[in-house]
Amino acid sequence: MAPEVLPKPRMRGLLARRLRNHMAVAFVLSLGVAALYKKAYADFYRNYDVMKDFEEMRKAGIFQSVK
């Protein structure tokens, strides 16, 4: 009986395939990081109260023009 022949394994381009896959995942992850920064600024300004912040700074005495 003929011995069972396994399918020929992938012998070339292993590194290229590995790099391609890793780079694709890293690229997608890094896009997520940039989006997080924009979200952080958007969240800060959404409920930002200018006058409240200003009054806290004024009471702390950092301004010269208004005491």
């Binding site: 890293a26 896009l31 940039a34 200018v50 200003f54 700074m57 023009s65």
Partner: protein, 227 residues
Amino acid sequence: MAHAAQVGLQDATSPIMEELITFHDHALMIIFLISFLVLYALFLTLTTKLTNTNISDAQEMETVWTILPAIILVLIALPSLRILYMTDEVNDPSLTIKSIGHQWYWTYEYTDYGGLIFNSYMLPPLFLEPGDLRLLDVDNRVVLPIEAPIRMMITSQDVLHSWAVPTLGLKTDAIPGRLNQTTFTATRPGVYYGQCSEICGANHSFMPIVLELIPLKIFEMGPVFTL
């Protein structure tokens, strides 16, 4: 101002600076990707016993590493040009302030609604009050409103200087005989610092810039003109 050992950009106080920070993150991400790729390829080359004696004729690889860098450069150039044109948008400034560089202090002129002109010298260390910042605080700060577009006209009386405030994303050269213009809109009140950014002599490091940004309705009550 920057805190000790700070390496990153200061938090943004204007929309343009927010865009610049996002762009910086984008460019840095690309740099990290390329560096990781190169270091990983180097690591793999150094840690294998396999050899290859036929390393000529790699047309596919050559094509990839020509096209891919071109694409990466386009991905960097497009947001960069977008921000460049954004800084030149016409936004009808509410207030124009002149900033004149001298050796080694700044003169500010508020001439829109009156004739306020004053010099801004760094506070010498002996004159510092508790809580003042050494080499950064000045005797007369530039008081400006927030949430209003402001135009700065910058020039110099003598040698080259540069008027820079990192948190607003501003740096404009002060050139004798030339009037440079920059505009900004601040989004948060506070006290913001900058330093002269063009070598101008012995005390180049000792002519800082201090902006005091206050809400528009407080500014309109005229604190600037009663200082």
